[in-house]
Amino acid sequence: MTRPEAAGTATVSEESPLAEMIERLTDDALSERRRAAWAEYVSLPMPSKKTEEWRYTDLTKLEPESYEPLAPAGREVEPVPADDLPPAVREILEGAGVRSGTMIELDARLVRLDLEAAAAEAGVVFAPIGRIAEDRPELIERFLFGSDIAPMEKKLWALHTAALSGGYVLFVPKNVRVENPVHVMRWLSKAGALLSTHSLIVVERGAEVTVIDEYMSDDLDEGSLSLNGVEVFGGEGALVNYLGLQRYGSGVKHFSMQHANTPKDCTLNSFNVTIGGDLSRCDITSHLLGAGSDSEMLAVWFGDGDQHFDYHTLQHHAAPSARSDLLFKGALAGSAESIFRGLIRVDVGAQLTDAYQTNRNLLLSEESQATTLPSLEIAADDVKCSHGASVGQVDENQLFYLTSRGLTRAQAERLLVFGFFGEVLARMPVESVRDRMTDAIERKIDI
């Protein structure tokens, strides 16, 4: 006897907690989009390693439906006393310096939301997505999920949308300069959870802001899944510095999908730091849509143990006279593995493009592995494009020099690793973050 094949992909279980959550959705400003995204998620096949962009990270073993989706955050803050915050979060708050805005989510529960009075008076809006959807629907209509998503990214983007458990909208009106960084911290303490957060940053003409998204957790050895979508929409002449800091404990699998949409004379910079988690995949795209737009894309990572980091970047020059500059540096110890796959794409007519792409890798152990694929696709002739990639080890001559000056080999190696990262970390726009990231890397080297 043969049974008729089930419709759709066999991998999606109708009885998964996620399917049930979608089933139970009550109608609100976002429910329609979430249902549509779920339908799209179900209909799309999970990319396998045969999909070029997923060649080095196997999604077929991810089983997103086996995780328990966290209930979406409400529109209001549910405050907790400072003493009940995780120590790591408290530590950041104490040492962070002045912040124009602060937001803390514990397991997708919004427990703190501050915006300095001056910014609020100037018309800056900083609030959870659920609240904006009701109070400022036009922002949601116009911008949320409005970025151009590549085909290979669609499956996870749909999952992220369907499972949305929190996130914020930051809106900075015309010509407003937000003095200090806006800092968003997410803490995950539940194992087996699916966290899906979104950051929507809309910065009007001539406005400026620096945003920090920071992800942390306990060691969750049973595993949790974190999906994170970031969309930045700049106005003419706007300036945004975006910092993505991933400092999860072990067991967490993190997928970050970042889209910067950069019109005329707008500058959108990003700086990503990857330190934690078991698996971390970042898809970072700069859509350079207007003449004179500019994007600096920086990243550092330090992997050890069995960590697997996969960076996928696109510098898409769709307009003439735009500039992009990418510098990604990673060091690997233990049996960690990293992949960098970057593409500069220059469209027909995007003359006078300046685009650079550099990936450097340091292998500190025998078992570590690095793969780098810096690619170019150029269809305009009056351009300056170059890329470089290297994989190597700590230089023996430099080690010898330092040890001959009385340093131990470990000390010398540590110093050289910092020298390696220094070139990137020096360009970190927030000093307190730079110091903390340096400490975090230092702690990893010492282990």
């Binding site: 070029e52 027909v348 007519g349 003359q351 890798n361 292998l363 500190l364 152990s365 025998e366 078992e367 570590s368 592995q369 690095a370 793969t371 780098t372 694929l373 810096p374 690619s375 170019l376 696709e377 150029i378 269809a379 305009a380 002739d381 009056d382 351009v383 300056k384 494009c385 170059s386 890329h387 470089g388 990639a389 290297s390 994989v391 190597g392 080890q393």
Partner: protein, 469 residues
């Protein structure tokens, strides 16, 4: 100098190999691919049973593999319209005088016997599916060098042939290697004995004359311990309105301390699909160099590779690609470091003009245990027009930390400042442009045999004539 004058002087106003002789083969297989065609080829070659079985197995692999979706556009390639086997004459000749007149004329026009007399150690010539001529100067025969058509290699040296054949590029390697394994015909079998150093090149010419022809040559080269040799292949075809297809497989073994250089200058006509697998297995302290010039064809997908399997092996790939209107050169190189202290270098230069597209696609892989490996890859691309396109796809996979790997690439257009400087010294814009482009390809052109270097320079000169004002 006005364009017409230059063109007349060089006699290069069109694709100069666009002449054809009447198509009168002694045998022509039916169009398209089938088991019967494969059996016919094998029967015509009077092959041993194991080779027929090998071909049929390869055909199955070919059918089972999907068409590659990366690289160039293969959607317009219709293999049902291609003749897979075309036998131009009954037997291969050793003396140039015995080659039939029309075939001889073709090669005379390509300058082959002339070249042989002057500077070559041996010459092979393939017309359609078969080698029509193979000869080696006596002094080299005496030293034990074997330079035969691949068919004679199989007949005369069955043991050494079978030991190496399809071990370096197995049929399952890729779809087109499988296809070649099923329908291969023609190509060279070369053996350089231990310690023999051939200081002048061996050369093979490949010519496709008939319309809708598929050429599937197969070359097997064994360069024994401490030996040295240089092999050159040149390829041309007339221009037809229909598509032709060339899919060769080149296998090379470079034994310990040996040194081998393989030079390809492909100037296929603009209706040719050129999908070639070239690979060398490089042993202890041996040295392999690929010099790869891709000037012709509609689409070329070719990535010469060095498998560095012995300690201290060295591999080098020098690649130059020119993509004119409607051409796509998807070329590059692969180096696999599988032994300690292996070194490699890839230098790629490409020029895209008009609607041409050149893509560099490369792989540098260092396996765990290949300690002390070093590799450097450099790619430079020059874009001549707004409509030209260039891509770079280097794959770098490193599993060994005691190694040092670098990749650099740049893309630019001819610098205004360079042009201005040269023109201020009295050169016309076209002359200045030509000079800049020549300078760009010089590092590779200087490695070419003289006549090819001249040819390349002429081609560049001609192409640049039309590129300004």
């Amino acid at each position: 100098m006005p364009k017409n004058e230059t063109v007349a002087r060089l006699g290069l106003d069109e694709y100069k190999y666009d002449f054809k002789t009447e198509d009168k083969p002694v045998f022509k297989a039916q169009k398209g691919l089938s088991e019967e065609v494969v059996r016919q080829i094998s029967r015509h070659k009077d092959e041993p049973e194991w080779m027929l079985e090998f071909r049929l197995r390869a055909l199955e692999i070919y059918y089972s593999k999907p068409m590659p979706e990366w690289g160039g556009d293969l959607s317009t390639l219709n293999l049902d319209e291609i003749y897979f086997y075309l036998r131009p004459q009954d037997r291969m000749e050793r003396s140039w005088d015995d080659v039939p007149d029309d075939i001889k004329n073709t090669f005379e026009r390509l300058g082959i016997p002339e070249a042989e007399r002057s500077i070559l150690a041996g010459v092979g010539a393939q017309f359609e599916s078969e080698m029509v001529y193979h000869s080696l100067k006596e002094e080299w025969t005496e030293q034990g060098i074997i330079f035969e058509s691949i068919e004679d290699g199989l007949k005369l040296y069955p043991e050494i042939f079978r030991e190496y054949f399809a071990t370096i590029v197995p049929p399952g390697d890729n779809k087109f290697a499988a296809l070649n394994s099923a329908v291969w015909s023609g190509g060279s079998f070369v053996y350089i004995p231990k310690g023999v150093k051939v200081d002048i090149p061996l050369q093979a010419y490949f010519r496709v004359n008939a319309e809708q022809m598929g050429q599937f040559e197969r070359t097997l080269i064994i360069c024994d311990e401490g030996a040295q040799a240089h092999y050159i292949e040149g390829c041309t075809a007339p221009v037809y309105t229909t598509e032709s297809f060339h899919s060769g497989v080149i296998e090379i073994v470079v034994k310990p301390n040996a040194r081998f250089r393989y030079t390809t200058i492909q100037n296929w006509s603009s209706n040719m699909y050129n999908l070639v697998t070239q690979r060398a297995m490089v042993h202890e302290n041996a040295n392999m160099e690929w010099l790869d010039g891709n000037l012709g064809s509609k689409l070329t997908m070719k990535y010469p590779s060095c498998f560095l399997v012995g300690e201290g092996a060295h591999g080098e790939i020098l690649s130059i690609a020119y993509a004119g209107d409607g051409q796509h050169q998807d070329t590059g190189g692969k180096v696999i470091h599988a032994a300690p202290n292996t070194t490699s270098m890839i230098v790629s230069k490409s020029i895209s003009k008009g609607t041409g597209r050149s893509s560099y696609r490369g792989l540098c892989k260092v396996y765990e245990g290949a300690v002390g490996s070093k590799s450097n890859v450099e790619c430079d691309a020059l874009l001549m027009n707004e409509t030209s396109r260039t891509d770079t796809y280097p794959y770098i996979e490193i599993d060994e930390n005691q190694s040092s790997i670098g990749h650099e690439a740049s893309v630019s257009k001819v610098g205004e400042e360079q042009l201005f400087y040269l023109m201020s010294r009295g050169l016309s814009e076209a002359e200045a442009m030509t000079m800049v482009v020549r300078g760009f390809i010089e590092p590779i052109a200087k490695e070419l045999p003289l006549e090819y270097a001249i040819e390349l320079n002429r081609l560049i000169e001609l192409e640049m004539e039309g590129s300004v004002g």
